[in-house]
Amino acid sequence: MLCVLPVPAQARRFVVVLDAAHGGADTGAVLSAAGTAGGQSGDRQALEKQTLDKQALEKQTLDKQTLEKEMTLAMSQQLRALLVARGFTVVETRENDQLVDADARAVAANRAHADACLTLHATEAGTGVHLFVSSLGQLQPTLLMPWKTVQAGWVQSSLKLSSALHASLTATGNGSGSDVEIPVTMGRTSLPAIDSMACPAVAVEVAPWHGGAGSEVVDVTDLDYRTRVLQAVAAGLLSWRSEAGQP
């Protein structure tokens, strides 16, 4: 299967595709207030804290577990609002709880002729924000590229977008009034949806933050934490737009 690469439009809007990962039968990870998600938690510190604090544990077990697919949709909707307010045109690969396969996500992104594509994930494992770019090697983009490796023509720009997001996320305080930096890691991996996208594409995975007030663990379900991360992502996209020569 071949993909005809989009021809850049002239004097056009700056389009961001938001790809809320998972959906429908694909629930993704099971998230909970402090890592109680049925053996899925990689958060040992949180587990130890629970053992020591029986009252907190009782409250947490009463809390409804959150599925990753719900969290990524919430993140997509929240980030869309932030971006539209900053003059971006936003396209979402899903707007409700539906199963969207990797090809359909890439088709939606490629039809949008996007300037940036972000796939959104949430996890209980690790800490801070994890940025991932496709592990495909860079190739010279041609008019016709194999569907499964279209992203190979965009890897360099994806790495630049990842760096722009990293710089924004690690900027002191991220404009949130806090001077505690959220740790951000960058990596490469095989991402079936992203590997077929003809746009600068980055997967953004939000994990619990181990640096809250008093070194407490702040879960991904925490609205303030999530808002701080998404505001930094929006700021990163603003600087990406500036780099592209658009105000």
Partner: protein, 228 residues
């Protein structure tokens, strides 16, 4: 009067019995010495099956999203596939320790099997991308003997390991890269790694890390993510 021939016969028999007595005594002493020597050689401690061998683990760190080399030594089986399986099971077992920077649930022997094959051998059910694009004649003209060619490792993980692995892009990716890089560090001829779960091909480890692709071990460490 005793005849002369009887005297000679008596003397010969007497000397023979003396000689046989001496031989019997000597044989008994020799047998005793051998028995004592045997007990000494057997020793009083259980013999080790194999001496410890140096092993390198490429250990994942969730905090930095990187792999780091850790050296240790323990006895390993001689057979290469059993050896690879033993190394990977020890690697994954240490992720269950409380000090792990890449915490995984405790699982006994999460690697069910490791199969090693020469790179140009057809893998069962998963034909090599490279051989598919090469002319058929090249299959018969490889100058390298199988004993020197690069190898493909097929790592078969248990279903329970995959199902209980923390779900996430970073954690799953690091587990896969740690396995690939550790295999390459200890079996340098392993250039490619493929994964099965419970003997079957599976799309992802637990929702994220792509298990349908072939991983190149040389690229594993580089792909593990570096802090800018």
């Amino acid at each position: 009067m005793t005849p002369r021939y009887q005297k000679i016969l008596f003397t010969v028999l007497f000397l023979t019995s003396v000689l046989m007595t001496a031989v019997l005594v000597r044989l008994r002493e020799h047998a005793h010495d051998q028995l004592l020597q045997g007990i000494t050689e057997q020793g009083t401690t259980a013999p080790a099956v194999a001496p410890p061998e140096p092993v390198t683990f490429m250990v994942a760190d969730d905090g930095t999203s990187t792999l780091r080399a850790e050296s240790m030594a323990f006895p390993l089986p001689v057979e290469p596939e059993a050896r690879a399986r033993a190394v990977l099971n020890r690697l994954l077992a240490q992720y269950a320790s409380p000090q792990s920077q890449h915490p995984l649930p405790t699982e006994t022997d999460p690697v069910e099997a490791v199969y090693l094959m020469a790179e140009s051998d057809p893998a069962p059910g998963t034909p090599s991308d490279r051989s598919a694009s090469e002319p058929a004649t090249q299959i018969h003209s490889s100058p390298e003997p199988a004993s020197r060619r690069n190898q493909i490792a097929i790592v078969d993980l248990t279903q329970s390991f995959a199902a209980t692995h923390p779900s996430g892009l970073e954690t799953e990716t690091l587990t896969v890269l740690s396995i690939c890089a550790t295999l390459h560090a200890n079996l340098p001829r392993v250039a490619e790694v493929r994964f099965l779960v419970g003997g079957q091909q599976q799309a992802t480890l637990n929702g994220h890390a792509d298990l349908t692709q072939t991983y190149l071990t040389a690229a594993s460490a580089a792909a593990s993510g570096a802090q800018p």
